[in-house]
Point group: D2
Chain length 149, copies 4
């Protein structure tokens, strides 16, 4: 698990005085930096080979101004050339949102995906979500009948 702390700003809450839902993809992207660094250690953009295929966020509880938010980042799945990142946003000991991002290792020049090298795969696996350190099944969302990730 990687951990990143962010401070919500005055402009991050909306008229309902909750964190606006569009901020979560931003904070989740910021917190995926260690994943990016496994492929591009100093984040150099020349020769960048990662592309986003999909993002999703489930909103679990309202988050507010005034307390830091901690983002937990895990790896949920590793495919041949893609990986699924699972993330949670916690504020004051409460889960506020969780999300997934599917990232593809990608050759932009030839427009096709590339197999993830074994050395990186091993590093990714160190951050796997484990059922015993994260009781995912019992963490229902705000609207368990409709929201699932």
């Amino acid at each position: 698990m990687w951990v990143k702390t962010v401070t919500p700003g005055f402009g991050d809450i909306d008229g309902l005085r909750h964190i606006n839902n569009c901020k979560l993809p931003v904070w989740f992207e910021l917190s995926r930096e260690p994943v990016f660094r496994l492929f591009h250690p100093n984040l150099s953009l020349d020769g960048w080979q990662l592309i986003m295929a999909r993002i999703s966020v489930d909103f679990v509880a309202q988050m507010r101004l005034g307390s830091d938010i901690t983002i937990h980042t895990f790896i949920r799945k590793i495919g041949r050339s893609s990986m699924t990142v699972f993330q949670e946003a916690w504020q004051n000991g409460q889960l506020g949102a969780k999300g997934e991002a599917i990232i593809v290792y990608f050759d932009f020049e030839n427009e096709k995906s590339i197999p993830i090298p074994d050395a990186i795969r091993v590093e990714l696996e160190k951050h796997f979500v484990l059922s015993d350190n994260l009781s995912l099944k019992t963490r229902s969302g705000r609207f368990p009948e409709i929201a699932s990730s």
Copy 2:
């Protein structure tokens, strides 16, 4: 179908010179305004009764600076108290991204969902995705094997 046009700004592209993935949730939210107005005609925030349960975006093709982006907004599903909005972002005649948002009609005071009134349901149905005006099945994403919405 509702239609909204947005102009990407200089800061909306990232170091790869593509629209940053985090902009899509922002533009999709902006384009859901007609849905919000069915419940709150003048967008007054007093007594606001809509809450986001989930968003997802599939990235289909890279979008760039220099051309407007057109957002198409449909209703895909209407439940007892929630609705699923389906949206597409088009640039230069090409589908760049598609997404879903699940919105719940919600009583913030009592913290529970409310049934969608029939009069609003009828209006929402006018914007249903129809299989014959939107050939969804043939619109595969960038990575058809992993991305699905």
Copy 3:
């Protein structure tokens, strides 16, 4: 004068239910696109030669969700290698904010400014703020004793 219309989104207002001040630089940048296009007609980023030196915004009146905002963009000053853009944000017939941006025509490779070509200078001059079509002197800000641009 160039004119651009933007629609404020749900996340653009903050907890006070006014447009968050940080949105103005974003909308002003978006509305400077015609200025950028005088130098780079199709906004191609290869060989881009404009750099921001300074931005400022004066907040004149609160802007809100629910009505479009119209951005007026003028040229206030043209120097040897820099230009000052003056912009206003109007909502419902009321001036909400005004701002300036100083842009420098710049050779990134040699890290020095370049003289603005006469052909572009002529185009820029067509958008000069004129004292008779814009009664600037009478448009005081919210706090005339402190805010001036």
Copy 4:
């Protein structure tokens, strides 16, 4: 001086691979939180009495992805009912941007400014820019002939 560290995200750089200029107002606002807390200790928005009158940013050097940015926040001036905040953004030991924000202590209901209480004034003064700990005169901007704050 208050200090806040932010990590630039992938979407915070633009097509030139520099931090987009519109991010600075966002990070500066975030870093003014301790100023806000002098007036509203727990950032409660009920009865909020601060309003932005003006912001400005001078861009001094390009900032990039890959290293944290440290924001220094000072008080430059205290008037009867307003204060001028001065801020700097540093990356890798280099000044990247500096800015000012004029904030007014404000009674929203009666739409008029309020005198800053002495107790808060004393706290603000503890964060004054001092000429000997900040050699402002020697810190010229990128374009000393045009940019000044």
